[in-house]
Amino acid sequence: MPTATLVRLALLEARRGGLAWLALAGVALSVALAAFLSQVAITESRSLQTAVVGALLRAAAVFLVASHVIASIRRELDDKRLEMMLALPLSRTRQYLGRLAGYAASAACLSAAFALPLLLWARAPAVAAWAISLACETALVAAIALFFGLTLAHFVPAFAATAGMYLLARMMPTIQLIAAGPLAEPSPLQDAARASVEVVALLLPGLDAATRTGWLVYGPPTAAAYASALAGLLVYGALVVAAGLFDFHRRSL
């Protein structure tokens, strides 16, 4: 079971690398901040805490997973451990997918840990929907981070590319809305800008529909909306994995 070994190694690395402590610190900080903010709120104190903790933990999960995956893969490359692993009788595909499964498993553990404090303010079905969606979203981020970690030569460019892509995907619906604003003057330049925004949007994951803080505040989404959000993440995940495998097979390591 070489794939299972790779998963176990990734989980072990996450534990020894202090990911659990960072997660705990993230939970403590966001809960403390929310408690402070709720003291100054004159109404909706509960939903304020839920919304702030949900939004902060989502961002923290993505940041931790992306930095962990890139640091891990860069370390393997820099220490020449990846080359040693490739010498083993294990196909590149299995090596790549095994690592990704390990990172996705770490991301799922992190999502479960981040969902627990939300049970203080939100209902269990909403928290469960949020947690599953966060696990899928962070698994996608792990796939993107693995792709950039292997493709780009250093940590900073790889992290910047992952974070940039993630943030752009989160902001894209608003950018599209602004681009299509009725107050914008119709001109060829404006049309070209709008068309480019639409094209870029086609190449990004639909993160705006996933892991919504609104689910925690106002209740879980409908089954159709939820399934559509998760399906969007899975489709994009398959695209990133395919791109990553393509690049990994072509690399001369």
């Binding site: 109404t43 104190s45 702030v52 902001m171 809305l177």
Partner: protein
């Protein structure tokens, strides 16, 4: 976590000195910065809701509530004898509208509009806020009627504008279709036309809201009880005079 470290004495003395001096300067600089709540005149023009959404990386629920906390810091309990006297109410309405657009289901903006900003002892500002509440009520009457009900009381008892109060009361009666609308709210017109003082009317309304389960937040319940006590003290003072 273990690290191979050299003794503290291995660090040159000047590095210690620079570290301590830099820390002292940093603390000094921070202490020298003027603090305190922002002045009312500092309230900038409201950004479009889309810009707020963009700045929050598409977290509208969190952004709406944080924007309300930001907004309520302006001119709150400052040195002003009259609260919110310096606040530009047109800008304020712009902010409240943007926050509502960001999260239309949040009750925070209309709660603040009705219970905080409309209750200022300045009829002109109060009217601006009441009209904002009325306009927003029309967009979602079944959810937003409690704020217009409070606006109705303000129009009658603070502004002494009976036609305005009746206009709001009629709007509640004609626009709200939810079966959960309590009888007192449905019959608000009678309630307004009756010769009832502000405290009794406020008590009926608050009691009705608490009974119907519309107020669930402990901070909100505390705030409203405090307001009721203030109102009782104010009206009690008038009666003595």
């Amino acid at each position: 976590m273990s690290r191979d470290e050299r003794a503290l004495s291995a660090v040159p003395a000047w590095v210690h000195a620079v570290l301590v001096a830099a820390l002292a300067v940093q603390i000094g600089v921070r202490l020298a910065r003027p603090g305190g709540a922002p002045a009312a005149s500092d309230l900038p023009a409201a950004p479009p809701a889309a810009a707020l959404r963009l700045a929050s990386f598409d977290e509208p629920e969190a952004a709406a509530r944080l924007a309300m906390l930001y907004l309520q810091a302006f001119d709150l309990g400052g040195a002003n004898r009259l609260p919110y006297r310096e606040l530009d109410y047109r800008r304020l309405v712009g902010w409240l509208r943007a926050v509502l657009e960001l999260d239309p289901r949040s009750e925070y903006p209309l709660f603040s509009a009705a219970r905080v900003y409309a209750e200022v002892p300045d009829p002109q500002r109060s009217r601006i806020m009441l009209e904002f509440i009325y306009e927003e009520f029309l967009r979602d009457p079944n959810r937003r009627w409690p704020w217009l009900a409070h606006a109705t009381l303000i129009a009658k008892h603070r502004l002494h504008d009976l036609p305005l109060a009746l206009r709001y009361a009629k709007a509640i009666d004609s626009r709200v279709t939810t079966p959960s609308l309590p009888l007192w709210a449905k019959q608000m017109q009678i309630f307004i036309l009756e010769d009832m003082d502000e405290l009794d009317a406020a008590k009926i309304m608050l009691g009705g809201l608490l009974e119907s389960g519309a107020i669930r937040d402990p901070n909100e319940a505390r705030f409203l009880e405090h307001r009721l006590e203030e109102l009782a003290q104010r009206l009690g003072g008038k009666a003595v005079k």
